[in-house]
């Protein structure tokens, strides 16, 4: 239980040993997590990983079977949602359809018995803050998706909550709007110094938004770290596969700094490899391998044939079948049309041992 010390000044929101079971299914298998003050922490996981249950436990819609939830100094494990002082943005915004935007935003203030004049002032202020000035009189259905999203955010922050919860709030928006809203939420959260817990299954979104990411798998947090750490040094094979694109080769550590791939080819390993005989996964991000030009020396060099190209704008993704019967995906900057590779072209590529990252295979 070292991860979340009750009442520690580091954890603004702290979960200690939280377990939640549904019949035979264990949705949360002992969660220890401390969200720092002013931090945006993302819970990232595929569906069924327990992230939604975790969010519900924090919001108060689910009670944990074991463990404690602390918000600052306060134990809120058994507190009803209405007494938690948490602002939440729901997946489909959950704006009250029969109230105007201003009435929606005023709702949490009215529940806290804020004087009328102050409510009016604060609603105006927050509408300006989320860039919806003058739209207070509209009904939710009269707003666009992005505007509804802003209104939902305004309603969640207007009462100055201790914690902001975001439950996959960008899922319903088209790609361009989504990116814009992500950056805007990030800007607002920083500006207001809000502690925020964000739940998503979208790893790209998590990398853009988060101070730290907690990756969940089967009811556990399998890795907690900055987006860069998670991307560069995934702790497990699952994280390596889930975050970003990667090539993952199964290999056996062979001694003197080498590992043997499944087809028997030796590959130099980065320092700090596990003992000889261990099964490992060699993770290689697609942007790491380089095309070889004459006279260059790299630790591992392969030649192969391009079997698929995907044009991605700034970069091109190639699937290349390497000579020893391996397939690898690489992503290289788009070069002038004449120079880029086509299906059937042969090419030579290579990487240095430091480009590899080792994860346990099992």
């Amino acid at each position: 239980m070292a991860a979340a010390t009750p009442g520690s000044d580091e954890g603004d929101l702290a979960l200690a040993g939280v377990v939640r079971r549904f019949g035979a299914v264990t949705a949360l298998a002992g969660i220890d997590l401390a969200v720092r003050k002013g931090e945006l922490l993302t819970i990232l996981g595929p569906s069924g990983s327990g992230k939604t249950t975790l969010l519900k436990v924090v919001a108060g819609f689910e009670m944990p079977d074991e463990g404690e939830v602390l918000l600052g100094e306060r134990r809120i494990t058994a507190a009803p949602p209405s007494k938690r002082d948490i602002g939440m943005v729901f997946q489909n915004y959950a704006l009250f359809p029969h109230m105007t935007i201003a009435e929606n935003i005023a709702f949490p203030l009215q529940m806290r018995k804020v004087p009328k004049a102050e409510i009016r002032r604060r609603v105006e202020d927050v509408l300006a803050l989320v860039d919806l000035p003058g739209l207070g009189g509209r009904l939710p259905r009269q707003l666009s998706g992005g505007q509804q999203q802003r209104a939902a955010l305004a309603r969640a922050i207007v009462f100055g909550p201790r914690l902001l919860l975001l439950d996959e709030p960008f899922g319903a928006l088209d790609r361009k709007l989504r990116e814009q809203m992500q950056l805007e939420v990030r800007r607002l959260q920083r500006k207001l110094g809000l502690t925020a817990l964000f739940v998503t299954h979208d790893q790209e979104e998590a990398l853009i938004l988060s101070d730290r990411i907690a990756v969940m798998e089967q009811g556990r947090i399998v890795q907690l770290g900055s987006p860069e750490e998670i991307y560069r040094r995934p702790a497990t094979r699952f994280v390596a596969g889930f975050i970003g694109e990667s090539n993952l080769f199964r290999a056996r550590v062979a001694g003197n700094g080498y590992a043997l791939l499944e087809n028997g080819v030796g590959v130099p390993l980065p320092p700090g490899a596990p003992p000889e005989g261990s099964e490992v996964g060699l993770m290689l991000r697609p942007e790491r391998p380089k095309p070889i030009s004459a006279g260059e020396r790299l630790d591992s060099v392969f030649s192969g044939e391009v079997v698929e190209t995907v044009y991605l704008g700034e970069t091109v993704k190639y699937r290349i079948r390497l000579n020893p019967g391996l397939e690898i995906i690489v992503r290289w900057p788009f070069r002038e049309a004449g120079e880029s590779l086509r299906v059937g072209d042969r090419t030579t590529l290579g990487w240095n041992r430091d480009d590899l990252h080792l994860v346990g295979w099992s």
């Binding site: 819609f61 209405s82 938690r84 959950a94 359809p97 029969h98 709702f107």
Partner: protein
Amino acid sequence: MTAAVADRPAATATGTAIWWRNNRATALLLLAAAPALLFLLAFYLLPMMLLLAQSFEGGSLKAYEKALTDGLYVRVLIDTMLIAAYVSVICLALGYPVAYFLASTRPPWPTIGIIFVLLPFWTSILVRTYGWMILLGRNGIINRFLLDIGLLSDPLPLLNNLNGVLIGMVHVLLPYMVFPIYAVMRRVDPALIAAAEGLGAPGWQIFRRVYFPLTLPGVLAGVTLVYILSIGFFITPALLGGGKVIMIAVLIETQVRQFLNWGFAAALSAVLLAATLLVYVGLRRLFRSDLQWS
């Protein structure tokens, strides 16, 4: 020019084809509904028109003058609307919680509940009304029981008065209140309730500010239905009112059966129809802005 003229018939043919493609569904649906439409036309609209014509017997408005100025008839019309209002309010008070129960419990309770709400529907209204007479009379089962256990010294006046009429009518009309409300309740998004809770609303505020307003369309539908059905009620007030509670339908029947005064009965019917329509339009106006928000 010649080319344009030559094109014309072809263009029209295409136009017809396009019209047919766009409206085929409507046309077919109309065809499917035709038997029912014809039935209503022949056996409902036509007789109603004939009845209306009778109310202007000899081209005079005398019947209407009597219906709208004679103290007795005005009184009965007002009583009828009041009784309909009482029945609507009682049905709403009893029906809303029932609808909530049906909409919010876990299976199999909704199914069981719906069967119980529907049960009275499968019994003849006459049988049910006689049943109430046995239950509610001076020597009825309820009074006997209460007297026997010593809770009362004199029997309660439950029959042949307004009490009896209200009990009987509410019993018959309750399902018409429950089902529209139930249908709307089932469509209320649970996330909205969760949101209200998360934003700090205690239970009764969630109900007052969020849940109830969201179910208002169902309430409106139920109230309208019950009110309109109540206004024209005949058997129940006739039997349970014991001649002391006169509703307008009873009066119309008397005019026809006893006095054979078709013209006046027709005028009363027209007034009743007009009053019903007025109430209907009024209720819709009242809630118009809140009718739909899904």
